[in-house]
Amino acid sequence: MSAVISAQNLHKSYAGQEVVNGVSITIHKGECYGLLGPNGAGKTTTLRLLLGLIDPDGGELRLLDHAVPRHAREARLRVGVVPQMDNLDPDFSVAENLLVYGRYFGMKDSEIEARIPALLEFANLIHKRDAKIPTLSGGMKRRLTLARALVNDPEIIFLDEPTTGLDPQARHLIWQRLRELTAQGKTLLLTTHFMDEAERLCHRLAILDQGRMIAQDTPQALIAQHIEPQVVEVFGERVPQWAQQHAAQYAQRFEVSGETAFCYVSDAQPLLAHLRGHGALRYLHRPANLEDVFLKLTGREMRE
């Protein structure tokens, strides 16, 4: 498989603070690759570096066989971008937004017009063709932004938190569309802090924290490698005392957060049997997921 994005040892700092600190990424054609990390981990900065919108302080970068940032313009001809914040043109209709955006790629009006029906269908916006942007819901705006990113039929699509702020229905529709794009052979690079999103969509993902890449693999491998396979969440007012007395006895690892104890185990049966005898405690037994890995690797404290 050929690499369509490759970054070696990227560095970027602002005002003496390393925002991106030695990140290396190789993404192959057709992959859906996720960048995960708490706020301020350097996800958006990494995307902007890869697109050649800002210059790295150090490192080597190639995007679709073009050296970036020097030849970023040529590379961006075949790239689509869904930004974190909506920046559709509020004065234009849905169709006009696509037309005007296509022109930035040097496309002819006739060429763009020919693509608009398919783009609107992809975005479920056929009936909104002539609607003004302020009349659209948040989900519609996101879908239009996704359609806009496809106007030039790009090989790679960058998506910066594509589903932030959307309700579950809208989010599921976006996920479905992103899967269709991967099925068509497009390469996707997305940032998110929704673990279920990353786990469902991404073939591989990287976890960034404070500008460093702290893990990189398939979602399944990350879970298998970094965490015990079973999790028992124990809830209740008396959880802290219970955890202090008993958790270490039944769980390989546990963490208490407020009135919840997260117990990580290979075999949950002894713990479950014990909990059945403790009527005051409620519990949830589930397989370990990416969020557990994420919290283990990046910690539970707030990042603001």
Binding site: D55, R73, R76, L77, L88, D89, P90, V100, Y104, G106
Partner: protein, 261 residues
Amino acid sequence: MRMNPFAPPRLSLRFVPIWRRHFLVWKKVAATSILGHLADPVIYMLGLGYGLGSLLPQMEGTSYLLFLAGGTVCYSTMNSASFEALYSGFSRMHEQRTWDAILNTPVTLDDVVLAEILWSASKSLMAGAAVLLVIWLLGLSHTWLSLWTIPLALLVGLCFASLGLIITALAPSYDFFMYYFTLVITPMMLLCGVFFPVTQLPPVLQTVSAILPLSHAVDIARPLLNGALPSHAVLHVAVLLGYTLAGFYVSLVLFRRRLSR
């Protein structure tokens, strides 16, 4: 590896689709915009021209109304470009994030800034044409030479768009623009011979006036409306072009720094 923010502008035709975007937005409000371009000079010229003009027998050998018309062509085009480059430009850069959207395509910041300047100057061109139409309708000027005020309007537009974008590049918010209008645009209007001849000012202010770009525009416009060729036209055009190029370069450097964060 690092791009130098002081590098000379890299110009290309990629500004065209951006200019067309601004034009398409304008087309949606064209009626009000044209009305504004027409109403503003009419109100000024009729109010000041007839009101003040009735007290003044003649000004530099013409009616006060025609004297004022020459100034109005220039200050009206200055205002047009300034408002577009400051308020609308800031809205596109900061508020609506239109620039961010455009910069994700194969278009560079240099193209975006060039398009802003050319679009603001296009607004000036419309404003200048509107003033000239009013001048003709009022029967103030009867010379084909007055048509030269149209390319002049474009040049004044380029000049004040470029200068205005420096302020846009520095602005933290819309409030910042009040400084520019109060400290730069209003004095420019009062010192550059729009309403009265510069020779009425004390010598120090006359020197200041000679440095300001609007004076040079007025010195071209006024004779043209009166059917005469302006003296030192090359110098005046050169000064306006100089401000344009300097403003373009400085604003571009500032935008490169602002947007590389």
